[in-house]
Subunit: 199 residues, 2 copies
DNA sequence: CCACACATGTAAATTGTTACATGATTGA
DNA sequence: TCAATCATGTAACAATTTACATGTGTGG
């Protein structure tokens, strides 16, 4: 799935500008998809070219004209086809976990810093961003979220909670073990042979 | 972080070929990092050029010569520097969750299929792959895993368990709600205005 | 007989990020 | 005064995946 489909999806929620789409993605999709202006604007141009979206240009002073995009019937059909044919992939790319895996190669202070940073980041997402979004969604006048949207949001909350709890629970032990292995004079313990273990 | 650093990291566990590295990544890193031959082989060539790894070529019949790579002291230093300077990012890219978010645009049978597929996939990873790996790691003769490795493995198991439990718990309700909204004649309920909710 | 494991590598295509270019207004 | 918000867009760069190229041995 590319940014094009995602933009189409967001536009199926209502017309908006490229700038709006970015913000919308930041709040609702931040924990499972990300896209920058560098991919959104070209995607919108391409969608317009294909006739999947209509553009309405609104003149503004002191800044570029605003372009409001809205999905066309053809666009909605394209979106549905695209979604129906999309394989449900789910990939994680975590420099954080690579760092943890090789924690014994990291200066202990840096390890502590990294753990601290991840905890802080996840707490902020969980207790500020997500909470704010869910409260806002529950506000009167706002259309109910579709069940699938609640599912996706809930998934993010659940998984993030689990991750955060795990890191908080394991942190002291990990720091202790790393500190200990750094002090005692066995830093060159032969790790090796993990790949050959089966033989 | 690029594949180069990752290869260096894996090679710090013991010497092996590009083919071995791929398999090693598949078992230990599958849930937080992925790399294909197309990125591994060029990475190894580059590392050799930089003097971070040594190559030993082993002639073979009926197939390409095997190249065994081992990390050099300079390589180990480069690895440590690289790791110390790496920001702990953690990104998820999930077509699955996008599909769920827009579940109301999906044929209900396809939705059921997708959920089924994800549950099966995650159960397999959790109960087969991870279990096998952990058992193997506990086997006699295999060096103890470093604490950081146990941390990373445990993180994967924890988060995957949470994800799986969530999907299994939510599935019936989601399918029911989607089926219901498909039947009653309000498919064109104006979703809109979610982005404008704050006003 | 087909698929898979073994084994390396290249090239094209895809896809996306980062940085740049432009510039007014508003609040701390 | 500095940073952020609003607003669009391009171009260079980075990184990866996919498919291709080549070929044998083994097991179902």
């Amino acid at each position: 799935m590319d940014t094009r489909t995602l933009c189409l999806g967001v536009l199926s929620l209502g017309e908006m500008s490229g700038y709006d789409i970015k913000k919308c993605l930041e709040v609702s999709f931040r924990h499972f998809f990300q896209a920058s202006y560098g991919s959104i604007y070209p995607a919108l141009a391409e969608l317009a070219r294909q006739g999947y979206v209509r553009v309405r240009t609104i003149a503004q002073e002191g800044r570029p004209d605003k372009k409001i995009y809205s999905i066309t019937p053809a666009g909605l059909e394209a979106l549905r086809n695209e979604l129906a044919g999309t394989e449900p992939r789910h990939r994680v790319r975590s420099e954080f976990l690579v760092l943890m895996f090789f924690a014994h190669h990291l200066p202990p202070e840096r390890l502590a810093e990294v753990l601290e940073e991840m905890i802080g980041r996840w707490e902020r997402i969980l207790f500020e961003d997500l909470a704010a979004f869910e409260q806002q969604s529950a506000a009167p006048g706002v259309g109910e979220l579709e069940p699938g949207m609640r599912f996706a949001l809930g998934f993010g909350r659940t998984v993030l909670s689990a991750a955060l709890a795990y890191v908080k629970r394991q942190r002291p032990g990990l720091l202790r073990e790393i500190a200990a292995s750094g002090k005692d004079p066995a830093p060159a313990r032969p790790l090796a042979d993990i790949a050959d273990a089966g033989d």
